[in-house]
């Protein structure tokens, strides 16, 4: 990074993001502890989990796409790959930010606040005894138990951090030495890494998000998380590239052809996300087994057929998270006109967040005064949701800015850099 003005801008952005992030995280922590007093103590933790999953999905998607590009020897995205690599620096911080979700419930002596199955003594909604009496939990307890959860979380994060560490290290080393061997090594690692990452992110999605409702069965959940992550990641990296190409160091290198190809991938993964999400619904709808259908039922009505707030969100996912971006991205112009593509990318990120809400937040909250002995947690945007998203985002952006100072803006000595710079439609 040679331009003094750029360095200053990146430094101040990073510092600003760090301060905002720390303040917002402090507010979120306050939200978790003040939420303990309310009738729904899990909501504060869910805010944190939504914020974490939003940024984690972006980072995971970028780790996927970076390795996919290596494996397929894609030359055109070489200049974009460097921007992805900056994002890959966030995993250690996300690990630190994940720990409170597990540790705080342990410290206050109620390990099962967020993940109900972590505490066998937790009462089941509807007065059916406790978690440890639940036959479904007894079958699943080989996988869903506290020790296995800790070990697996450690493995997942070592996969994420390990892969991103080596991919970043070798790519940055090429800037200085121009050693082609680095590219070969990265390609070899990626061909193994994709399998490791696919396994780790699938199981992570099951452990951290799906197990919030441990009763449920779905074979599509890991793929859903992958598809959602890819959509978020492509939108995020597109916005990032456009910011640095309009104002900063990628001016003139990030061209229409790069935008067009990223737009095509956004379209492809929009369709893929819809395909996966619908398939999950369709399989459960066709089989019609109560242990599976209830998951969709609580996202539609209150148990008596009266639609609840998740009904509107469900429809929004169909029409606003799939059909609208699908139709917008079908048009060639949308994929090359900067403003339109940024609009679609922001749109997808917003509804990605709605998708995460829809997947993570609903659940049965025990309430003796309610008709079934429980009520279904409804859609709401809390202050602490917003602070968690901003807080974790602030730390991520700070980490990205720190990384931007460590390497060249584009991988100048990469063997494929010329093809990427000359990329045309």
């Amino acid at each position: 990074m040679s331009d003094q003005k750029d360095i200053q801008k990146i430094n101040s952005t990073g510092f600003f993001a760090l301060v905002i992030g720390l303040v917002a995280l402090a507010i979120s922590l306050y939200g978790i502890f003040s939420g303990l007093e309310t009738e729904d103590p899990a909501r504060g933790f869910l805010s944190w989990l939504v914020g974490l999953s939003f940024w984690l999905s972006i980072a995971l998607g970028l780790l996927f796409i970076t390795q996919i590009w290596y494996v397929f020897h894609a030359r055109w995205p070489t200049i974009i790959r460097r921007q992805c690599e900056h994002f890959l620096s966030v995993f250690p911080w996300l690990f630190l930010l994940f720990i409170p979700l597990f540790i705080i419930p342990q410290i206050i002596g109620e390990p099962g606040i967020l993940w109900k199955w972590l505490d066998g003594a937790n009462a089941l909604p509807g007065g059916h005894g406790t978690v440890q009496d639940d036959p479904l939990y007894q079958w699943k307890s080989v996988y869903l138990n506290s020790n296995a959860f800790i070990v697996r979380a450690a493995i997942y994060f070592s996969v994420f951090i390990g892969l991103s560490y080596f991919l970043r290290k070798w790519s940055f080393d090429t800037d200085i030495t121009g050693n082609v061997e680095n590219t070969h090594k990265a390609r070899r690692l990626s061909s193994v890494g994709l399998f490791l990452l696919a396994t780790a992110s699938t199981l992570a999605g099951i452990d951290w998000f799906k197990s919030l409702d441990y009763h449920w069965f779905s074979t599509m959940y890991g793929v859903w998380f992958f598809a959602a992550s890819m959509r978020a990641a492509l939108s995020a990296i597109l916005i990032f590239c456009i910011i640095v190409s309009v104002k900063g160091y990628m001016k003139g290198t990030f061209k229409q052809a790069h935008r067009y190809d990223l737009g095509c991938m956004m379209l492809a993964f929009t369709i893929f996300w819809a395909y996966i999400s619908f398939s999950q619904y369709f399989l459960i709808y066709n089989a019609n087994i109560p242990e599976e259908t209830y998951w969709y039922n609580i996202r539609e009505h209150d148990g008596y057929g009266v639609k609840n707030s998740w009904w509107v969100i469900s429809l929004l996912l169909i029409f606003a998270h799939f059909i609208a971006p699908f139709l917008m991205l079908l048009w060639y112009k949308t994929k090359i006109v900067v403003n339109r593509l940024v609009f679609v990318a922001i749109w997808i990120l917003v509804f990605h967040l709605v998708d995460l809400y829809w997947n993570l937040i609903p659940g049965k909250v025990i309430d003796a005064t309610a008709s079934h002995g429980y009520y279904i947690r409804q859609f709401s945007v809390e202050v602490f949701d917003i602070t968690a998203i901003i807080g974790i985002g602030g730390i991520c952006i700070w980490s990205v800015c720190r990384s931007m100072l460590k390497a060249e803006p584009i991988p100048i000595k990469d063997p494929n850099i010329l093809t990427s710079l000359n990329h045309s439609e």
Binding site: F278, Y281, Y285, N286, N288, L330, Y332, S424
Partner: protein
């Protein structure tokens, strides 16, 4: 056999000169002309002033037709012509026939693409007067050519020949229809 002129062909020595010549032909305002090479040249559509392909419109029309056809077909069969209760599901809903709607969308969109490509490329075309020109056959090997057709409004047997020469063309020939 009539000796009517089909057009005039000119050869160019390398890709850049073909590319820049194409820009000049475009700027001179010709409409019925084309460049010929044995390999694709990046940016040539722009140099020729070609608009974007119309094939996507055919694809879209095919897709919409498929979606509508799939929906009405299932509705007609399951809810109108012979209402049948299957597994306790409604006679018609957008959920259970979705695979059919979706597959027909894909199928007819693919047919639309294929058909649109044939229509827009004027295929099938078994005869083209350019094959009367012996040098034109070398295009499939190493020759780069521009052909301006006589049906173009600006075409003039003498002036067009001079124009092609002025933009760097050689081996200029008239091709008979």
């Amino acid at each position: 056999m009539s000796e009517e002129i089909y057009g005039i062909v000119a050869s160019f020595k390398d890709t850049p000169s073909l590319y820049h010549a194409a820009e000049k032909v475009r700027d001179a305002g010709f409409n019925h002309w084309d460049t010929y090479s044995s390999f694709p040249i990046h940016g040539m559509p722009e140099a020729q002033g070609q608009k974007r392909s119309k094939v996507p419109i055919f694809t879209f029309a095919g897709g919409v037709t498929g979606l509508t056809l799939g929906t009405t077909m299932v509705w007609y069969m399951n809810a109108f012509d012979y209402p049948l209760i299957v597994g306790g599901y409604p006679f018609f809903s957008p959920v259970f026939p979705f695979p059919i709607m979706y597959e027909l969308t894909i199928l007819l969109a693919a047919f639309g693409t294929l058909g649109g490509m044939f229509i827009m490329n004027l295929l099938p075309q078994h005869y083209n007067p350019l094959f009367n020109c012996a040098k034109f056959l070398e295009v499939s090997d190493d020759r780069l050519m521009i052909a301006i057709e006589a049906k173009d409004g600006q075409f003039d047997p003498v002036a067009t020949k001079q124009f092609l020469e002025s933009i760097g063309g050689f081996d200029i020939e008239e091709v008979t229809a």
